[in-house]
Amino acid sequence: MITSNPFAELSALIPPAVMQAYVVLMVLLVIGGTLLDVMHKKSAKYFFEKGQSLKKIAKREVNGGQKIGLAVQTLTNEVLTSSEFDNPERRVSHLFTMYGFIVFVVTTAILIFGLPAAEGEGSALTALLWHAGALSICIGGYWFWLKIRADVRSEGHEWYDVHQSDLFIVSLLLMATFALIWSLLQAAGGGVLAGIAFVVFIVAATTLFSTVLWSKFAHMFFKPAAAFQKKVAVADGSRDKLPEIPELTDPEVKQKYPDIPEYMGDNPPYMGLGIKREAPSHY
């Protein structure tokens, strides 16, 4: 059941060419929506102007090789492991959702574009990954939606309060959930329920990929840009106008800031986590 290509059975009703055209259309909608989003929010202009203003107070030049190194670091830390999240729950839920989404989208394309050949046994692993991807989106997404949604506790919103800002997460969750339901119902014999599940799956997927301008979808493009700029600001010494916190045992620091050895001693102890001892959950 979970190792069979759900689109193979569907190809009896909808020609593979139509499904392939749909996938291409969704890709084009995402590209177009992202470009419109960049123009509307002026995010590219913002990053460029911010980069220029930080360059003026930079203390050293960052060369091309170092920038490539920083880009690789951004990719391995912020992009691949979501390291920008301080809250470990949010980080793990984001990783489930992100990797689930990537696997789901890639395997959908492989399953649909390999359709004439996929009727045999060859696509078992891809189909398995397609189901695992959808399940992973559901695990991460429902965890976020029901437990750690950023404003649930502060604003007293219940899980069924849906706003325009939820366009991305709700359409993503509906897409993954109904993809799984449709696949399971179809394997169990199809019928009207499978048809309804398929319609919800397609409506949710179309909503997800066609509303980039209004949803949070574009965050996957501008978040890495912001993380990269932050790393460049540290490397060139401008630090985004933030102060540097030096090593307190350094003799030069002690001389420049005599309050440190006077009040904290020559070897200041480790002071612990401070307000980070408690997660911000009671606001």
Partner: protein
């Protein structure tokens, strides 16, 4: 000027909402980022600016310590127990760094917890003294503390 939030930095974690003494830092229900719901009520205490783990909150400093157009940014390193400030003037050339201790003892280990202190009696509740008010300002605990009782003497003029 009251606090404002850089949307590209904020991830809606809620530290500022938690710490704001005026309860005016909220999470925007639409974009899920923190924002100041009532700038008129912000007394610029910098609590949220210091608490933000992403340094996503800023305020404009007053003109009495640097000409307007400057940048004043702060980082609070609790594990090291210090706070660092950086003030850059609008000409971009005057760039000042300051560093100061904020604690001399590990957090949460040497400060008595209110839960450990006996609850105030009815008499204490009716008294004009505040609950657990420090003893050194009370007349009934060893008399009024003065320079004389501390063995000090008032000197005239400027002295070290």
């Amino acid at each position: 000027m009251p606090t404002f939030v850089y949307m590209t930095r904020c991830d809606g974690c809620g530290q500022c909402v938690d710490i704001c003494p005026s309860d005016i830092m909220h999470i925007d229900p639409k974009v899920r980022r923190a924002y100041n719901i009532e700038p008129n009520m912000c007394w610029e205490c910098y609590s949220c600016v210091k608490a933000c783990p992403h340094n996503a909150i800023d305020v404009r400093g007053y003109a009495d310590f640097a000409p307007l157009g400057h940048s004043v940014r702060v980082r609070r390193d609790e594990e090291k127990g210090v706070i660092a400030w950086r003030i850059i003037f609008r000409n971009g050339e005057k760039d000042m760094n300051l560093l100061a201790p904020i604690t001399t003892k590990p957090w949460g280990k040497h400060i008595p917890k209110l839960a450990d202190v006996p609850a105030p009696s009815a008499e204490m509740r009716d008294s004009q003294l505040l609950f657990n008010e420090p003893k050194y300002i009370r007349f009934d605990d060893g008399g009024l503390h003065t320079l004389e009782s501390a063995g000090l003497k008032l000197q005239s003029g400027v002295y070290n």
